[in-house]
């Protein structure tokens, strides 16, 4: 990212250590979920292949692009605050939030669609995994947006600066985690067969 010496030599990831412990715990849950998906699929290959085709891959692509883009915007907001540019920092955060919102809207449409088709957690094991995984991730997007919004407010109030911006970095790290999880979820659930 920046060619700031102090960053390059750091022994710790950007942001608060506490948020990182949190991130690791969350990642662990998703990792277990992913592995469980893959191994359960092993027992029901036909069923998984059949119902995977009923998912809306285009919606998933839009959502993938939305999350990647928002992650990139968050990177820019961190860069901005490191240059002491509070206004830009807030703007990039708002841009990232709007991408998050796009994700939520698209995903909600998907859910509404499934709901109207009478699909739920008990329909079959594939839908159980699909709905569980995506909904758990959905909750994380909401959580991440709450964090980003809180940071945007504090940034607007001048809480952060070139010297002190751990808060921004913490929120950014959390948001990248939300993105990271989706980057695996998308191919695993929507594409790999």
């Amino acid at each position: 990212m920046t060619v700031d010496r102090s960053v390059i030599q750091s022994n710790y990831p950007p942001g608060d250590l506490a948020i990182w412990i949190f991130i690791l715990a969350e990642l662990a849950v998703f990792a277990i979920f992913f592995a469980a998906y893959a191994f359960t699929r092993l027992q029901h290959v036909e069923l998984f292949n059949e119902y995977q085709l009923t998912l809306d891959r285009e919606a998933a692509l839009i959502n993938t692009l939305a999350l990647i883009t928002s992650s990139y915007f968050v990177v820019r907001s961190v860069t901005a605050i490191k240059l002491d540019d509070r206004r830009r920092c807030v703007h990039w955060l708002l841009a990232a939030l709007s991408m998050g919102l796009l994700f939520l809207i698209v995903k909600t449409f998907e859910y509404v669609q499934h709901y109207s088709e009478g699909i739920n957690l008990s329909s079959n094991i594939f839908y159980m995994f699909y709905l569980s995984l995506t909904f758990f991730h959905f909750m994380h997007v909401i959580m991440g947006m709450v964090i980003l919004a809180a940071i945007a407010v504090m940034a607007a109030r001048g809480r952060y600066s070139r010297q002190e911006h751990t808060g921004v970095e913490s929120g950014a790290s959390y948001w990248h985690m939300v993105d990271l999880v989706w980057l695996i979820l998308f191919p695993l659930v929507y594409v790999m067969r």
């Binding site: 060619v3 699929r41 993105d179």
Partner: protein, 93 residues
């Protein structure tokens, strides 16, 4: 004071961003064309793992961390990656 290096700093991330978009589109196309099979699955999985590592190293900034904290995302990708790869490989036997 703004330094030149701070401006240069965003470039790798922008490049990574474009790569991520490109890989995602590729993944999508694989799905769209109806490709399946072990080779395609593993290809898509590898793309996903590479994307994850890019996000970890560049967006999350772990690439410039020394010591233990450089590795969590890598390990997170590596272990599930192996498990998923294994499960898919087995599913074609």
């Amino acid at each position: 004071m703004k330094q030149l290096s701070d401006y240069l700093g965003i470039r790798p991330c922008t490049l990574v961003y474009l790569l991520l978009i490109f890989f995602s589109l590729t993944t999508f196309l694989v799905g769209q064309m109806g490709f399946s099979g072990l080779g395609m699955s593993l290809l898509v999985l590898s793309l996903a793992l590479i994307k994850g590592q890019l996000v970890g190293s560049y967006f999350m900034g772990l690439g410039s961390v020394c010591g233990l904290w450089r590795w969590p995302v890598f390990i997170w990708l590596f272990i599930p990656g192996i498990l998923i790869g294994m499960a898919f490989t087995l599913s074609y036997q």
